[in-house]
């Protein structure tokens, strides 16, 4: 059988339409779900900063949009902490733990950084800054 002759441009157009429709109806089902929150109870996280690092278990915090969140920080040295995106600043010191309580109203991937201390092992540290943890807010 001889190969069928198809108008090239029509084929091209058909494929473009197929692409558009396939991608339009496509995605969005099973999202990874962070644990559901008990009504009105804030999601509490205790973050201990030691040697300029957060505990491994606390380096990735996940909540759902709309949750109330309470982050309590303790640190073995004084530091200024900044939650990006939400733009919250707070100070923490060995004798003064810091608590940040706020509604997680915006979904996204936000870092918590320490600004006041930088990695410095005797060498001038340049512009190095330290990300302590990522705070991920997933959409409902």
């Amino acid at each position: 059988m001889a190969p069928k002759v198809v108008d090239m441009s029509r084929l091209f157009l058909a494929l473009l339409v197929a692409v558009a429709s396939a991608t339009a109806v496509a995605p969005a089902r099973a999202q990874p779900m962070p644990p559901a929150q008990a009504a009105a109870e804030p999601m509490r996280f205790a973050i201990a900063i030691k040697n300029r690092k957060a505990d491994v278990a606390q380096q990735q915090i996940r909540v759902r949009q709309g949750d109330t969140v309470e982050l309590s920080f303790t640190s073995d040295e004084p530091a200024e902490l900044h939650l990006h995106g939400y733009d919250k600043l707070l100070m923490v010191a060995p004798d003064a733990p810091a608590v940040l309580r706020f509604p997680a109203s915006i979904a996204g991937h936000f870092s918590v950084e320490a600004h006041a201390f930088g990695i410095n092992r005797g060498r001038a540290s340049g512009q190095i800054h330290v990300v302590l943890l990522y705070f991920d807010v997933y959409p409902r």
Binding site: S9, F12, L15, G108, F110, R123, Q127
Partner: protein, 491 residues
């Protein structure tokens, strides 16, 4: 109002202390990685659709038919409107260009209080790269270097002294290699350079690039340099070939409507230097994303954890941020070379499989534009929220470009809405654009094959290595958007 302003100023001051955290070029990114379901859907669709297209094209005979183009001739009022619109756009572009240099040198040096970084990296680079594949070659109108040089040329002519150029012969062997070199340099500045978000250094870089551009235009002629060395003309020109609109003349005349992406199927093959530039474009956008993955984060961590007697600190005597930049400076050209090598390997394999005595470069020059939809797709997936969220910084900054507390248009207190592009929208757009870009690329490559190979069998068989390469590039894009963003400690 007064109180609002104080609040905004306090926030800006806070941000100023944190500016070091900004990724690629400048500006924050808060994108969540695409979930596993999206990743699996994207990967599955990529593979399935590749086979479907492959099978569909096996049924098709080689065709030499041109793809449909509708040319609209503009006369009278529409032409005048087009001309006036272009003149206004060009005037604005030149004004913003000069303003950016001024605020860079003389304005507040905090990256978030100065207009220059936002204007250069977000609105200029990412913004025009988004516009070009939609509206066509807008850069030809907006290019401030071209506009200013043309102005100078017009004045020179009016004074009765011919062309503003000493008309040296442009060496043919140089081709578009100057643009390739400048582009790799530009990518380095965007991804590695410590001065990328420092307004004065950015202004100095713009000034230096202006000097190079105008000197070369004077040496070889304006049009010659635009076609060979002005890197943004060539890069945005590559993206603009995707657009459904083509503007043949510089001053109105006619506009051609065509199928999106059909401008990438060229009658004339590209030069080898343009092949390198096109692949470098794909390599650098991908590398940008790669730098934010946890995998690269581990490389950063390994460098910072290098023992005190490591050659980095002793022999090279680097600071920590310099050591991190050194690794990126090596990896960036390596990534470009790797992508070029992969592409050439595929072309070599194709030349082995073809019935024509077609060499590797002969094929490379004809197929390279079919990769453009993949880079565009990744560009959309990666930068959409960056443009729409980071770009909002321009709203307050246009009212206070120098960061001196002005409020020219009453927008200085505008707060950036970081929730504008929600995660679901961003995930869907990312996967949809990557899969769509892949499909278009595979189709284009088949169309090119049908055009240049006589036998249908040859056209189909040569597409196997190309398909493998495209699936590889696309999986690379998908993998990157499925990785959580890790901020560089280098600033």
């Amino acid at each position: 109002m007064r109180r609002l302003f104080t609040v905004a100023a306090t926030i800006a001051a806070h941000l100023a202390t944190t500016a070091a955290a900004f990724a690629h070029g400048f500006g924050p990114r808060y994108d969540l990685p695409i979930p596993l379901s999206h990743y699996i859907f994207g990967a599955g669709a990529t593979v399935a659709v590749s086979f479907a297209i492959f099978a569909a094209f096996m049924q098709v005979e080689p065709a030499t038919r041109r793809l449909p183009v509708l040319v609209l001739h503009l006369h009278g009022v529409p032409a005048a409107l087009c001309g006036a619109g272009a003149a206004v756009a060009r005037g604005l572009s030149v004004a913003i260009f000069l303003l950016v240099i001024l605020v860079g040198f003389f304005g507040n040096q905090s990256p978030v209080r100065n207009l220059a970084p936002t204007m250069v990296w977000i609105i200029g680079w990412v913004g025009i790269a988004f516009l070009s594949p939609v509206l066509g070659n807008v850069w030809r109108t907006l290019n401030p270097w071209d506009a200013l040089y043309r102005g100078a040329e017009a004045l020179h002519r009016r004074a009765g002294r011919g062309a503003l150029s000493c008309c040296w012969r442009y060496p043919a062997w140089l081709a578009a290699w100057p643009a390739f070199a400048l582009f790799v340099g530009f990518a380095w500045m965007e991804l590695v350079w410590s001065g990328r978000s420092v307004p004065a250094e950015l202004a100095a870089a713009l000034t230096a690039y202006s000097a190079v551009t105008w000197a070369a235009m004077f040496a070889f002629g304006r049009c010659k340099w635009l076609a060979r060395g002005e890197v943004f003309t060539l890069v945005f020109g590559i993206f603009a070939r995707f657009a459904p609109l083509a503007w043949p003349g510089t001053a109105g005349g006619a506009v051609a409507l065509r199928l999106p992406a059909s401008g990438l199927v060229q009658e004339r093959p590209l030069s080898v230097s343009m092949v390198a530039l096109t692949v470098a474009l794909l390599a650098t956008v991908t590398f940008d994303g790669f730098l934010e993955t946890p995998l690269w984060g581990r490389i950063d961590a390994a460098i910072l954890d290098a023992p005190p007697d490591s050659f980095l600190w002793t022999l090279l005597d680097l600071r920590e941020d310099q050591a991190l930049r050194l690794a990126r400076s090596i990896a960036l050209p390596a990534a470009v070379l790797l992508f070029i090598a992969a592409y050439l390997t595929v072309c070599w394999t194709m030349s082995r499989l073809s019935d024509k005595p077609a060499g590797t470069l002969w094929l490379a020059r004809r197929f390279v534009l079919t990769l453009v939809p993949i880079s565009l797709a990744y560009h959309v997936a990666h930068y959409l929220s960056y443009l729409l969220v980071g770009g909002q910084y321009a709203i307050p900054l246009l009212s206070d470009p120098f960061g001196w507390g002005w409020d020219l248009f009453g927008t200085a207190a505008y707060r950036v809405d970081i929730g504008l592009v929600g995660p679901r929208l961003q995930w869907n757009v990312a996967v949809a654009s990557i899969v769509a870009g892949h499909i278009i690329a595979v189709c284009l490559s088949h169309v090119v094959a049908l055009r240049i190979f006589a036998a249908p069998r040859s056209a189909v068989v040569t597409q196997i290595p190309m398909l493998v390469l495209m699936v590889g590039y696309t999986m690379c894009s998908l993998w990157i958007v499925s990785q959580p963003i890790v901020e560089s400690p280098m600033g």
